[in-house]
């Protein structure tokens, strides 16, 4: 069970959260073409390593959090609110 340090609530068990997927993809502007939206909705890097992702603190503050988490070790590098600018782990750049 992951232990996630919510910036609002403190360290909480994974069961309080709902996962919400890849945070590296961003919604294209409204006038973007279908290909851009297909990439946004479907295509993923799915890295074996550091992953930038959304978690929703459903049973807590109901805020979306962004995490950098490693998909093999599950180590959490950083947690932030939806609008924070997080420093990625060394060597990582966000899409």
């Amino acid at each position: 069970m992951l232990r996630i340090t919510c910036p609002h609530c403190g360290v909480r068990d994974e069961v309080e959260f709902r996962y919400r997927g890849d945070a590296s993809v961003q919604r294209p502007p409204a006038d973007a073409d279908a290909a851009a939206f297909v990439a946004y909705v479907y295509e993923r890097d799915n890295p074996r390593g550091w992953h930038h992702e959304w978690w929703y603190h459903a049973a807590g503050c109901r805020q979306y959090l962004q995490l950098w988490r490693h998909t093999v070790t599950h180590t959490i590098h950083a947690v932030g609110t939806a609008t924070d600018t997080l420093t990625p782990p060394h060597g990582m750049v966000d899409r």
Binding site: M1, R3, A34, V41, R62, Q63
Partner: protein, 993 residues
């Protein structure tokens, strides 16, 4: 009175408290503190079980959790508990213990005939035969194999309520700074070092008392007592015995199962011990899990009476039991000598010690007290069928040396650190040539290993190791207070740790060549030849060899034979053990009951129940309830099955008035300067143009363009909306709204609040709805001018302040009223009371389904996550301008094609024909091709016969045509006419009446 083999006082047994239990119906007397195994051994028993494959007679091999052979079923009124190790089950008066895997009896087991065919039953034999003829596997071979396999017995028949009440308690959640696992010399020393340091410590011990290996050496009693006293002085340091850690998980989470002692379980004969799951979060873990004594592969090493050397010492020290009258010890190391010497000192005649090494320090000590030691020798065969009778001893070069009469063989092939937990926690294994074993190491960021698990054998060495590890952890955790408690008591001469005896190195010995079966896995009957055969057939990787031979997959998970099997494989491969490695150890460290993991959230408590605010009123009206997610919704106000009560309610709505409870609809309060803009983005249709005091039906899409949900949303103020969701999608929609608000458009000032539980909401539907409402809203102008269709305004209903909406799902003149939940019963009953002269009936989900199906309104049966606005005929609602979720991808060709399944209405041609929800629509010309489904159907109260809704390929183009609704499951085929779904009151005249 407590067995002929009880020769002295045990540390754990109380001679003044006899306990009587039964084994295979025979009454056995033991002492309070005994395990089933120690009591049976004291009683002189040898044979306690049968092996998995060959049904060979088996005895007690260990004194603890890793027991592979002495597994028993525990019986009681509330069902059997299978496969319990007799070596850890504490006896209690009246406990019924039954042996396993034998028929008709333990001593005469007909299945032992398998042993005659043993040459056929080699590794993987079942992969190579039983293939002909094709169906024979299920009919003939598999049932026979299934019956022969398996060990214990679980009730095939449900025993009713009893078995739904497992003897468990709620899981317990623990938080600590340091988790010390194992209370042997290393664990105790570590905990003692941490006492008073200011960090929180939990010390877990799976044994019934703390002490581990120190319990087996009387010289350590004083030290142990002092250590436990020191630990007890610190309130931040908790010691839990009978607590087995079962797994290590991410982020410092450990799971453990605490078994309560029989005295805490109420009643005498508790078949299934009360257990308590503990979920422990810790900052660091200190693993002091010890080591397991391992087996030597020699012929007959499975005979009843062959036992780990350390187990014999445990039975003597803990329970005062001599496991044999004239045992032989076969060992390759000095640690095992302690068992022989202790038994000797207790008056047991040691027949001989057989040691392949030429000499050793321990051998010298044994010789000095008069025990015969055969140096440079090995046991080549252990003989005797139901119990050991003789052992054959040969010199290391194979030359026969002697035959020894004996009734017990103590085996020790050295020790393998109990490393599974360390591996799971993120540690690694290091090969130690001097121990011929893998020691476990844990990185500092996780904690440490100490004592035997880390390769520090010897109690004194373990204490030093434990203290050092504790000091490192205390330093990392930033403890400022002096951690060394030895200043208080540890330096006094009485409790100084005794020195370890001088030991000579072991000689790695895995296998003794010889005739007859030499087992590496006792429970699964895997022999050295099976391992070699697996290798011969190419199953050379350790995981392949394990799976092909089933080695190490039994309940003991290879605790005593795992390394041995790997060594045999390594020899076959011509490689070293580190090159071969060990299989990955998975949780659970010790088998764990479903009951312990499940806790109390079983049976009726599997999930919480959400009841409507007016639930009591629905119960009083004799409602039948249906689960909808966690909700219980009134299905129909009758206990009578069938359509009649449903149609009575539907008819009331069509002809007079009905009152329904819609409280489970999700309700989200949306406020802020950007609320209207936000809703324009969320919904595919427009909300910014909605006037205050009005409601609008909206559809929202997922970003992939499919429909997510629908519902009405009302504008309560310029910057204030109330959004409703379907019952099923409430949580998903809320999460979606928050995502769009917080993540995609954080720049917009919008506040979302879930107010679902704040409001009870009732619908009043039917031609007399206005009349009814007027009676509970005297003085309120309910005219079409004051409260037009889709009005939404504050109001007092039956004197209760709430909201009034003029919306309709049934197609009738209808209103919904929302009132605070605590006034729900009051308002509900007032509505029914006021409606009585008007012929009101309460109506449930089934009637609502009839009404909305007739009206052509969709619900989750049609909004199935794949339908689009185009499919449902909503394409005109899609905004032409402005961004909204799903706008771009909804236009993909695959989502707008006119050949997609589209919503249609259905009517059987024959008015006496039923429709089946789940029937398939086919063209009579191609009756095997699925072109659509019947999604909803009902007997109609508007027209004769049944009506339905369906999703049909190119449906709008097929209106007026005839198809078949087929249900091969029921052997039914009904000719239907495809009609518009909106055949009833298409102008909405009734709604606007």
């Amino acid at each position: 009175m407590s067995g002929p083999r009880r020769i002295t006082t045990g540390l754990l047994t109380d001679a003044s408290r006899p306990v009587e239990f039964s084994f295979d119906g025979r009454r056995v007397r033991g002492l309070h503190g005994d395990t089933v195994a120690s009591a049976l051994l004291a009683d002189g028993a040898r044979l306690v079980g049968r092996s998995f494959k060959y049904h060979r007679p088996r005895g007690i091999v260990t004194a603890g959790h890793e027991e592979p052979c002495a597994l028993v079923d525990l019986q009681s009124a509330d069902g059997p508990a299978p496969n319990r190790p007799a070596t850890i089950v504490e006896i209690a008066d009246g406990l019924e213990v039954v042996s396993q895997n034998r028929w008709p009896s333990l001593s005469f087991d007909l299945m032992a005939v398998n042993g005659l065919f043993a040459p056929l039953f080699s590794a993987g034999f079942y992969y190579k035969t039983f293939m002909w003829p094709g169906k024979a596997w299920e009919r003939l071979f598999e049932p026979a194999i299934r019956r022969a396999a398996g060990l214990g017995v679980l009730d095939r028949a449900e025993r009713g309520q009893q078995t739904t009440q497992p003897h468990t308690e709620e899981p317990v959640h623990d938080h600590t700074d340091v988790l010390v696992i194992g209370s042997g010399a290393a664990g105790l020393a570590a905990a003692r070092r941490l006492a008073g340091s200011g960090v929180r410590v939990m010390l877990l011990e799976r044994d019934v008392v703390a002490g581990g290996g120190t319990l087996l050496d009387p010289r350590w009693a004083a030290w142990r007592t002092a250590a436990l006293e020191d630990i007890a002085t610190d309130a931040r340091l908790r010691v839990l015995t009978r607590t087995q850690v079962i797994g290590a998980y991410d982020h410092g989470v450990f799971a453990a199962v605490e078994t309560l002692p029989p005295s805490a379980q109420g009643g005498g004969a508790a078949a299934s011990p009360r257990e308590r799951l503990r979920v422990i979060r810790t900052r660091r873990v200190l693993l002091a899990t010890g080591a397991n004594e391992r087996w030597i592969a020699c012929s007959g090493n499975d005979r009843p009476g062959v036992m780990q050397a350390g187990a014999a010492l445990a039975y003597l020290r803990r329970y005062g039991v001599a496991v044999a009258e004239r045992p032989v010890l076969f060992t390759n190391n000095d640690w095992a000598y302690e068992s022989a010497v202790a038994l000797h000192e207790a008056g047991v005649r040691i027949a001989a010690i057989v040691d392949p090494r030429p000499a050793s320090a321990a051998a010298a000590r044994a010789t000095a007290v008069g025990i015969t030691v055969h140096h440079g020798a090995m046991v080549t065969a252990i003989e005797g069928r139901r119990e050991v009778r003789t052992v054959q001893v040969a010199r290391s070069d194979g030359q026969a040396l002697t035959t020894i009469q004996t009734d017990g063989v103590l085996l020790s092939g050295g020790h393998q650190p109990e490393s599974a937990l360390a591996t799971q926690a993120g540690g690694s294994l290091q090969w130690r040539e001097d121990l011929a074993a893998f020691a476990a190491v844990l990185p500092d960021r996780l904690g440490a290993t100490a004592g035997a698990v880390a390769g520090s054998f010897g109690l004194a060495a373990a204490t030093r190791d434990g203290e050092a590890a504790a000091s490192r952890i205390a330093a990392v955790l930033g403890s400022t207070r002096a951690p060394d408690t030895r200043a208080r008591s540890g330096t006094s001469p009485t409790d100084a740790p005794p020195a370890d005896p001088e030991t000579s190195p072991l000689l790695a010995l895995w296998e003794v060549p010889g005739r007859g079966k030499a087992f590496v896995d006792l429970q699964h009957d895997v022999t050295v030849e099976d391992i070699r055969q697996a290798h011969r057939e190419g199953y050379t990787h350790i995981e392949h060899a394990k799976r092909y031979s089933t080695h190490g997959m039994a309940t003991d998970q290879g605790r005593i034979g795992g390394l041995l099997g790997a060594a045999v494989l390594a020899a076959a491969r011509g490689q070293t053990l580190p090159e071969v490695g060990l299989p990955t150890p998975r949780p659970y460290i010790h088998p764990t009951t479903f009951g312990a993991l499940a806790g109390g959230e079983v049976g009726a408590h599997l999930r919480p129940v959400r009841k409507f605010p007016a639930h009591a009123s629905h119960v009083a009206l004799d409602a039948t309830f249906v689960p909808a997610g966690l909700w219980l919704r009134p299905l129909v106000y009758s206990q009578t099955p069938g359509w009649e009560p449903v149609l009575r309610e539907s008819r009331a709505v069509r002809e007079a008035v009905g009152v329904g409870d819609a409280s489970s609809l999700g309700k989200v309060d949306v406020q802020g300067p950007d609320a209207a803009r936000f809703l324009d983005y969320i919904y595919a249709n427009r909300f910014s143009t909605l006037a205050v005091g009005k409601a609008r039906y909206g559809i929202m899409l997922r970003e992939d363009g499919c429909l997510l949900d629908d519902g009405t949303t009302s504008r309560l103020g310029e910057r204030h909306f109330l959004l409703t969701t379907t019952t099923a999608n409430h949580t998903a929609v809320l999460e979606h709204l928050e995502f769009q608000s917080q993540v995609v458009h954080p720049e917009w000032d919008v506040q979302l609040t879930d107010v679902t539980d704040q409001w009870a909401q009732f619908s009043i539907a039917g031609p007399r709805a206005r009349d009814l409402l007027q009676r509970v809203m005297p003085g309120q102008d309910l005219s079409n001018t004051a409260v037009p269709f889709m009005a939404a305004l504050p109001a007092h209903i039956a004197g209760v302040r709430g909201r009034l909406f003029r919306i309709s799902f049934s197609g009738e003149l209808a209103y919904e009223v929302a009132v605070p939940t605590d006034r729900a019963d009051e308002v509900w009953n007032a509505l029914l009371e006021a409606g009585r002269p008007l012929g009101v009936l309460p109506y449930g989900v089934d009637a609502l389904n009839t009404l909305r199906t007739e009206k052509g309104h969709v619900t989750t049966a049609e909004l199935d996550g794949n339908t689009t606005a185009y499919d449902l005929g909503f394409e005109r609602m899609l905004k032409a301008d402005g961004d909204y979720v799903g706008r771009v991808l909804a236009r993909r060709p695959g989502l707008t094609s006119s050949t997609r399944r589209q919503l249609v209405g259905l009517r059987p041609i024959r008015k006496d024909a039923k429709l089946v929800a789940g029937a398939i629509l086919v063209d009579p010309a191609a009756p095997k091709v699925n072109i659509g489904d019947v999604t909803s159907c009902t007997p109609s109260v508007l027209v004769e016969g049944w009506v339905g809704l369906g999703l049909l390929a190119g449906g709008r183009g097929r209106i007026g045509s005839r198809l078949l609704a087929v249900s091969p499951l029921h052997g039914e085929s009904t000719e239907v006419e495809i009609i518009t779904p909106h055949w009833f009151d298409p102008e909405n005249a009734r709604v606007r009446a």
